[in-house]
């Protein structure tokens, strides 16, 4: 059995729109690979080509150039898709069916026998909080309920690879937590996860690696810890200057590497490198300032993302993104 579950090589998709067949490049150049048991977040702003790439992965659309391999096969091969659980972006189902009927239909397409189908349907609908609505027609279901049903039907075949397009969209905070927990559980069961999102902090805890797209190109890719450079931590401190006043502020800002972040009245927020924390605290004590808050801050995905996206935009079709794509493969 192949250990590379998903592989994209220089994927490109150009749509032709309108009567004049104007070209719209949705995906310019995307390469990535996902191995068994790995979990990858697929990130990027609106219109960066995530959904288009995912549709290529599932054989809904054909790439203009480049290749897609799913379990080492062409996605048009039904055997390749047999082991996949897919959740479309804002999923829709026949609204005259009930969740149980949707599950039955899906079960038939997966070729499940009746007993397996029934047991799994019951368990999954229950697990996703649809137990009470299992026999109600979908007409009038809320977006979040459809999302839950989408997830339930994606797990019916007990897939080895789960591909979710924005699994958290449309869910309330409790729903998000439930879905995140479920995905963490899938991950701990050894399943591979590939999912898109633009809510970066949500998925940080869930993925080993990320691929970040912007305008159809990979702008950053690799293992999260490597990308985020967690070695170079920064610490943010909030001081109440009190009696020390202006002199205290000057003393604090005189600490090596210290940067002012915010100054409101007698309060000063500043940041120092990790190894300057001791010096900062001593300076604060000496100057009579009162420490109110001390927060370690690391490079967040958001910052990384904004940095990368901005850089690519500034350089246009630069070599940079391709370097990132090539270098970043896990």
């Amino acid at each position: 059995m192949t250990t590379v579950f998903l592989e994209l090589r220089n994927l490109q998709k150009v749509f032709r729109v309108g009567l004049l067949a104007r070209k719209v490049t949705a995906v310019r150049d995307v390469s990535l690979s996902l191995r068994r048991g790995e979990s990858m977040g697929f990130l990027g702003p609106n219109g960066s080509g995530k959904t288009t790439s995912i549709k290529c992965i599932l054989g809904l659309i054909r790439p203009t150039a480049g290749s897609v391999k799913l379990f080492g096969r062409d996605p048009w091969d039904i055997e390749a898709r047999a082991g996949v659980g897919y959740l479309p972006e804002s999923p829709y189902f026949y609204d005259w069916l009930t969740p149980r009927e949707v599950m039955n239909y899906a079960g038939d397409l997966f070729g499940l026998d009746r007993t397996t189908r029934r047991t799994r349907t019951g368990a999954l609908l229950e697990r996703l909080g649809l137990g009470h609505a299992a026999d109600r027609p979908l007409r009038g279901f809320s977006k979040g309920m459809l999302q839950r049903l989408g997830i339930a039907q994606s797990l019916l075949n007990d897939p080895e690879l789960v591909i979710y397009d924005e699994p958290l969209s449309g869910l309330d905070p409790i729903g998000r937590k439930e879905v995140l927990d479920l995905m963490a559980e899938l991950r701990s069961q050894g399943k591979s996860l590939f999912f898109s999102s633009h809510v970066l902090t949500d998925i940080e805890t869930l993925c080993d690696a990320v691929t970040i797209l912007n305008q159809g190109k990979v702008v950053a890719a690799g293992r999260l810890d490597a990308l985020l450079d967690r070695g170079a931590l920064e610490v943010e401190a909030l001081f109440e200057l009190g009696a020390g006043g202006e002199a205290a502020a000057r003393a604090l800002l005189a600490v090596e590497g210290s940067v002012e972040r915010e100054r409101t009245g007698a309060r000063l927020r500043l940041a120092v490198p990790h190894d300057a924390v001791d010096a900062l605290l001593q300076a604060g004590l000496a100057a009579g300032a009162k420490l109110e808050q001390l927060l370690p801050r690391r490079d967040s995905l958001e910052e990384l993302f904004v940095r990368k996206a901005v850089r690519v935009e500034a350089r246009g079709e630069s070599q940079d993104s391709q370097d990132a794509a090539a270098k970043g493969q896990p």
Binding site: T52, G59, L109, L112
Partner: protein, 274 residues
């Protein structure tokens, strides 16, 4: 381990086609168009009873026979055109396709399943209306003869063919245009035999003007001759319909159906589902 390990093989393939067909049927059962068509046909049948009151005594049953066949044909064909033209569009429009086609099912299986489901539905429609018609016939002192049943059966073959045409156009273009084109094929297909006669006649526009002759030949070549399935006149006149003819008509209908479904498959297979 994955639960769906065996996805290949003809048995699995049939199972999936059946699942899609069953789902299509279930949808149609909850669809207003279907009931509208049923109601309209029943109304027409009742109208034929009223109309027959005006006819001479020995013509009453004849009129109900004739009008019944006509109404059933018209309304099942209308159902086939409407539902066939919308078949793929609805799945695309409501994005239901995106949850189905990524599953281990081939596009061809999906399309054949949709087609089979619609044909089954039309079969149910023809069956129900046939039963009503039978009742009306008995009411008017007639009876359902094997010949009448045969005429109805051949009409169903025609409806299946029209459904295949609708499927083809719905894979090709937008639903309204698909419906119009299918209706066009139906109407022209019904009279294409006239064109054949005109082309073989020694005189007249079709025989003499080269452009019209060429056009006529193309039409005759690309359109099924739907009059093949119309044995109403023979049946009503009490003429026998030879078995050979019925077998040939079945073969003819099946060939055209397979051709249009195959064309639809080719179109659908290549299509980007965005």
């Amino acid at each position: 381990m994955t639960g769906a390990v065996h996805v290949t093989g003809p048995a699995r393939s049939l199972q999936r086609i059946a699942a899609v067909a069953a789902n299509t049927l279930r949808e149609a059962r909850r669809n207003r168009v279907f009931y509208g068509m049923l109601a309209a046909a029943v109304l027409l049948l009742l109208f034929s009873v009223a109309l027959s009151e005006l006819a001479l005594a020995d013509q009453k049953a004849r009129l109900v026979q004739d009008f019944g066949l006509f109404s059933i044909s018209l309304l099942t064909v209308a159902t086939a055109v409407l539902m066939g033209a919308l078949l793929l569009h609805k799945e695309l429009e409501r994005k239901t396709l995106y949850a189905i086609l990524p599953k281990p099912i081939r596009r061809s299986e999906f399309l054949v399943g949709k087609f089979a489901g619609l044909c089954a539905l039309l079969g149910v429609q023809v069956g129900l209306l046939g039963a009503c018609w039978w009742g009306v016939l008995v009411l008017r002192g007639g009876a359902m003869t094997p010949a009448l049943a045969l005429a109805l059966g051949l009409q169903y073959v025609e409806v299946v063919l029209v459904t295949a045409v609708a499927l083809f156009f719905s894979a090709l273009t937008r639903p309204v245009l698909a419906g119009v084109l299918t209706a066009g094929v139906f109407v022209v297909g019904r009279v294409v035999y006239v064109l054949q006669d005109l082309l073989s006649a020694p005189k007249g526009g079709f025989a003499e003007v080269p452009v019209m002759r060429a056009l006529g030949k193309v039409l005759v070549a690309v359109l099924p001759d739907l009059s093949t399935f119309n044995v109403a006149d023979e049946v009503l006149l009490g003429w026998p319909v030879p078995t050979d003819y019925v077998v040939a008509a079945l073969g003819y209908g099946l060939s055209w159906t397979v051709l249009f479904v195959a064309l639809a498959l080719v179109l659908f297979e290549r299509r980007d589902l965005t």
